[in-house]
């Protein structure tokens, strides 16, 4: 299971090159990272997955973009919207991660969406940059939302990913610091390790709901 930072932005979206981020990730205890809107590569033993981050608000546009990216090895993630949008995204083949739940409305992710995420092996991303860089009510809201997601995760066991959303090496955090931040959410070391390895389980086929015997 690879320890993965599920979202970083490299130059020109950020101020650090993909190689420098890979070097930094290595020193911080990661095995791989997902570079959004950047090509895949391998550097100094760190696997860099290409990531496609779809921020379209219309489902039609999302479907078109996912179709375009489906043939590639890219990790496809979609920005969360309202509840109907999220359910539609979670049912869409080819989507790997649903991001930005903390900035969506309160009812955006419910038990039905959680079950769909578990059935379709779509990961829900916990964006740690909100915990790191925001203060006050914004951070409190994000923590509250993440606690709610973790309750649903305990019940439905959908995959989780953890991401720093770093735009610079200065925004990246070590695995130990991430474990510390996640302890605020009530996650223990095993939960954090599982979430950091969440990218690895996205392509793993799940047990079918109906099994034909004989």
């Amino acid at each position: 299971m690879k320890i993965t930072d599920a979202a970083v932005f490299v130059h020109p979206s950020g101020d650090s090159s993909v190689r420098r981020m890979a070097l930094e990730a290595k020193s911080l205890g990661f095995d791989s990272l997902v570079a959004l809107d950047a090509p895949a590569c391998e550097y100094e033993g760190i696997t860099v997955y290409a990531g496609r981050y779809l921020r379209e608000r219309a489902m039609r546009d999302v479907i078109a973009r996912v179709k375009q990216a489906r043939g590639t090895d890219a990790v496809i993630s979609v920005q969360a919207g309202d509840n109907g949008f999220n359910r539609a995204v979670l049912g869409l083949k080819g989507v790997h991660i649903l991001r930005g739940i903390q900035s969506a409305d309160k009812t955006a992710f419910d038990h039905v969406a959680a079950r769909m995420a578990a059935d379709n092996r779509v990961a829900i991303d916990l964006d740690l940059s909100v915990l790191i860089s925001t203060r006050g009510i914004a951070r409190q809201r994000a923590i509250h939302r993440y606690l709610d997601i973790l309750v649903l995760e305990q019940r439905f066991e959908f995959p989780l990913t953890l991401s720093s959303h770093a735009r610079s090496i200065l925004d990246m955090r070590s695995t130990r610091e991430i474990a510390g931040l996640c302890s605020i959410l009530g996650m223990d070391a095993a939960d954090v390790a599982k979430a950091l390895g969440g990218i690895g389980v996205l392509d793993t086929p799940t047990r079918p709901a109906v099994r034909v015997i004989g």
């Binding site: 130059h11 090159s17 510390g180 931040l181 605020i184």
Partner: protein
């Protein structure tokens, strides 16, 4: 007031952190305010009073942060939320925790890497430029030759000229040429070779 005997003093722990980006000029007081704000914001006033964070020393890129024994974990989590000091962006990389500053200094001595060769055209002893573009004072050897240093090479990214300001192994930081609002890019030698 008489000094308390050692057995009645509260036990402290010291945390060694490296400040990124390298070469950032650290004002201890400003860094203390940033850390205190991070601790209070995350854990509240009650816990901040228990942790009692303090920046006791800043030596080069390293800072020593003091806390009460048993609260290291809380302090380290709070330190990971420090993203800047005044208008300067920085990150604190926790390296070690100890009961004495001397053992942390020993750790720094052990960590000091051998001098790495600089990228083409740049001497390894080239002074480090801070993020604000200021040149820190560097001690000169008494018999240093008066020859001017070789001009640092320029690199163009998106039509903007950058010059190398820090080099550590494969890692190279370049800074935008200019006096105000100069951006810093974090690259590798291979990136510069491909420019």
């Amino acid at each position: 007031m008489s000094v308390r005997p050692p057995t009645l003093r509260e036990n402290r722990r010291y945390i060694l952190a490296r400040v990124l980006p390298s070469g950032t000029l650290i004002d201890q007081k400003e860094l203390y305010y940033a850390i205190s704000d991070a601790v209070t914001s995350l854990w509240g006033d009650g816990m901040a009073a228990v942790i009692t964070p303090a920046v006791v020393a800043a030596e080069g890129d390293f800072v020593f942060i003091r806390c009460r024994r048993g609260t290291e974990r809380e302090l380290i989590i709070a330190l990971s939320t420090v993203t800047g000091c005044r208008e300067t962006r920085l990150a604190l990389r926790i390296l070690a925790a100890s009961g004495t500053m001397e053992s942390l200094r020993e750790r720094i001595r052990l960590m000091s890497p051998p001098a790495a060769p600089a990228p083409a055209g740049q001497s390894p002893e080239e002074p480090v430029v801070s993020q604000s573009g200021e040149m820190p004072e560097s001690p000169k050897a008494p018999d240093a030759s008066p020859e001017p240093p070789a001009a640092a090479p320029e690199y163009l990214f998106g039509g903007i000229a950058y010059t190398a300001c820090h080099c550590d192994g494969q890692k190279v930081d370049v800074i935008e040429k200019g006096f105000k609002n100069t951006h810093r890019l974090f690259l590798t030698r291979q990136d510069l070779e491909n420019v």
